[in-house]
């Protein structure tokens, strides 16, 4: 159905775009061990994205597959939240702390979501969720460990960690706002109502913040979006230009 396809795209695009962002760190991480770790997380998310985009392609019924969905959709057709597309570095848009801050928020939210999605009436979503739970639990733990290290390391790293959280915080609210598709499918027992996740996410984050001796950021939600409606940030167009250019330049090619 259309709703199921749209929902699979939402979750798939979140994974795909964050994977793309994390992979930008490859050969640029602060240490080799972290190069390996970030690539691992990017690979896990890419794997989730491929399963979810394939599910969307099947549910949609139109002749398409994971690659046509990833490489031939225009920006307004992407359903990811704005949180995952924001430039958190490497490079001038952010740094390792901002990357960790986003990963902490994202993985905490996604783990809560996937844990509930295991019970979905859609067998594919349920299976994807069951596999993803183990992966994302590791992502969350990795981000939490680094949050502790950066917040409790040097004075400078603590400042960076706080700045990183401030950078991503205005996009967090969007994670908990139900899109009509999510609301309908949640009623049908297929999807998870994102509003349901807030208490758990808040609790986990507060635990990390307390352990790291950090204040929960207070920045207000950012207007605009939502990404779920295809309204993104200006960073998204550049990300897609890079991601899609070769595929779009060679129509009909086999890869």
């Amino acid at each position: 159905t259309d709703d199921l396809a749209a929902y699979a795209l939402m979750l798939g695009d979140d994974a795909l775009i964050l994977s793309q962002r994390l992979a930008e760190w490859t050969s640029r991480a602060p240490e080799l061990e972290e190069d390996v770790a970030l690539a691992n997380i990017a690979l896990d998310l890419l794997g989730q994205a491929r399963l979810l985009l394939t599910r969307a392609a099947e549910a949609d019924g139109v002749a398409c597959d994971e690659d046509t969905l990833a490489f031939e959709r225009d920006e307004h057709e992407f359903r990811n939240t704005r949180l995952v597309e924001v430039d958190c570095g490497p490079g001038p848009g952010g740094d390792f702390a901002a990357t960790i801050a986003r990963l902490l928020v994202f993985a905490t939210h996604r783990l809560a979501l996937l844990q509930r999605l295991v019970g979905s009436r859609d067998p594919v979503l349920s299976a994807v969720a069951a596999k993803g739970v183990k992966e994302v639990a590791y992502h969350r733990d990795h981000a939490a460990q680094w949050t502790l290290r950066l917040a409790g390391g040097t004075e400078y790293s603590r400042e960076r960690m706080i700045a990183g959280l401030d950078l991503v915080w205005p996009y967090v609210e969007e994670l908990f706002t139900a899109h009509p598709v999510e609301a309908r499918l949640a009623d049908a027992g297929v999807a998870v109502d994102p509003a349901e996740l807030r208490a758990e996410v808040d609790e986990v984050l507060d635990t990390v913040f307390t352990a790291a001796d950090l204040q929960r950021p207070t920045a207000a939600a950012r207007a605009g979006g939502p990404g779920r409606d295809g309204i993104h940030t200006e960073a998204m167009g550049y990300l897609l230009a890079e991601m899609q250019h070769i595929h779009r330049s060679m129509p009909g090619a086999l890869w």
Partner: protein, 310 residues
Amino acid sequence: MELEREFERVVAADHRVEPRDWMPDGYRKTLIRQIAQHAHSEIIGMQPEGNWISRAPSLRRKAILLAKVQDEAGHGLYLYAAAETLGADREDLTTKLITGRQKYSSIFNYPTLSFADVGVIGWLVDGAAICNQVPLCRTSYGPYARAMIRVCKEESFHQRQGYELLLTMMAGTRDQREMVQRAVDRFWWPSLMMFGPSDTESTNTEQSMKWRIKRHTNDELRQKFVDMTVPQAAKLGVTLPDPDLKWNPERGHHDFGEIDWTEFWQVVHGDGPCNAQRVEHRRKAHEDGAWVREAAAAYAAKKAAKEHVA
């Protein structure tokens, strides 16, 4: 002298020298330099292929490429660890890399200009690397030999993946076939250069052979690579860009043209297309990450102090 004779006996018998064993200073230094250069090559080698992760034209290829580049980081880690068993320090080796005092394989000073380059690097560059490295699985120093066994296994896998990408592309559109041919044209000669100067020019070979750090000469390995690759090129349907390349039934080997040694030395001496870019990329990553490493060290120290008190 007793120790030295024991060492020579072990090496001559093709047994393994282990970290705790006595070894000559020259052996230790030569090995550290060789293992470090090998580790640096893995790390710098992440860049030319990493260049295509964000633009990989299918999700499957993106996953394969990301996993491969991740493996290279892993290889770098094993090899630095092997060098550390000889008393080297990773931070010191990294400093030598980013200040240009230690080298890495010159092949990575060529740019990757299309997605076909990813396949050609897998096929030719990993292929040449495997020719160079398989004998090192039997090298005299234990930790190095064991690291190489793992590295070679993974590199063979990468080589097959690269060749498979090229087979797929050659079955695609005409544009794709031309793209593969252009990539082969750019990488063929640099791949031959990976075996180093010809035997008449090469230094250090004799001692390294005796120590079983090296087991074949550059030209022997280069010939082996050419003989192995020619039929693969034919199967793929690409032309290797060497008009002098042909089977010589008398030698039982392929003859091939003369390498452009001027270009070889130009790249070795730092003026290759990407030498400056590769080292600068590594330097920047290392320096940008300094505050993170410092934070991790400071945090670990605080935690250890706290546990000590408790």
